[in-house]
Symmetry: C2
DNA sequence: TTTTTTAGTTGACATATACCACTGTTTTAG
DNA sequence: CTAAAACAGTGGTATATGTCAACTAAAAAA
């Protein structure tokens, strides 16, 4: 499995100079999680978000009927955060859990702002990340509003072919907002259509 | 109908000093739209987002079956933007349309970044806005994944009681991801439950 | 390895919500 | 003010997806 060094990530994507980056990175704590470990639990208060250097995590909530709904998968090179706790100092509304052995960097919003003040390039980079994230979320909302289970699954395959191979179907179903049984049937139908040609 | 001056908004919420704010605001263009006018159409290229000072707009997409899906309502005091065009210089993927007579401020990302460089307080404010927006979107996704039509409607009433009164039911239905007929029945059921007590 | 748990498939059936058609009613435009 | 359009309610019916249960296969734990 490949690993994303946060240092490399920043130097190559944010256009920052090496010394600045290393000062930021060295001020961040690294942490290891085994598959199944929680990075964050609902109700906890925590002021940092996570940058995944290696492995895979999921952010999810549990509804009143006890069902799990996955809000985000976070593979290496991605950020994941419960905004409620990390940016608004409230108890977390989600769980974040490793689904592979995972190593992360803990990042405080304070660090981000500090960096941004010191370096305008970083500010632009950070903004772009946030806008990009918003774009993704809008996209997902649009799909949930407009597309059938099959269409959403096809779109998932196309957008996250890598993740598809790394997580059980039951989690894909949860992400898509359907039951595992339904996903199984969607896949069967698609296989049939494909074979028919 | 009340009006939100962007100047007042910034001075009271972002903690900026008056001269800075007025220099920002004066560099932004104001524009008026009649109900039904488009602020932005799918496919257009445009580099600004909108701050609604008065009135109400909706951002929506049209799917392959010709159906409209509302991504966001934007009443006075809110921002609305197609990120694809405003921040990534691509053709817009959405329509933004006034549903009341509306007056807006056109804001360029360039302005935002400029302001942020000049004033750290503004940077924090802008970040908070973005994180808050992300929080809202996550919330909506969670609802679409986990809640029934009735639950989503109740949540809408609670979260946006003001908007409920200003838009036709058909738009609420579109926002919730259900048909107008279904919403009509949900309302009927709720009225029944309420009367039963 | 053996046992236990979790995941995936499939059938039968239930249900929420969509679709279509029709009817008033309200709003908008001429 | 009148005509046309958009909106809202309701019945009948269709359909996608959920629920429950049983069985097999695969993965994790002992």
């Amino acid at each position: 499995m490949n690993r994303f060094s946060f240092t490399e990530y920043l130097t190559s994507n944010a256009g920052l100079d090496a010394s600045l980056v290393s000062s930021l990175v060295s001020s961040c704590q690294t942490k290891q999680y085994k598959s199944g470990d929680y990075l964050l639990r609902e109700g906890e208060r925590s002021l940092h978000s996570f940058f995944i250097e290696k492995g895979l995590a999921k952010m999810y909530g549990i509804d009143s009927r006890g069902k799990e709904h996955i809000l985000q998968f976070a593979p290496e090179g991605w950020f994941v955060a419960d905004r409620e706790s990390a940016y608004f100092q409230k108890p977390a509304t989600c769980f974040i859990q490793a689904i592979e052995d995972t190593s992360v960097l803990l990042i405080d919003e304070a660090h981000i702002l500090e960096m941004a003040r010191a370096n305008p390039g970083f500010l632009e980079f950070n903004n772009k990340l946030l806008h990009n994230h918003i774009r993704h979320l809008n996209n997902r909302i649009y799909q949930l509003l407009s597309a059938t289970a099959e269409e959403r699954y096809l779109s998932f395959i196309k957008t996250y072919p890598d993740i598809l191979l790394r997580v059980p179907q039951i989690m894909v179903a949860s992400y898509l907002g359907i039951t595992p049984e339904s996903l199984s049937r969607v896949r069967k139908d698609l296989a049939g259509k494909h074979a028919a040609r």
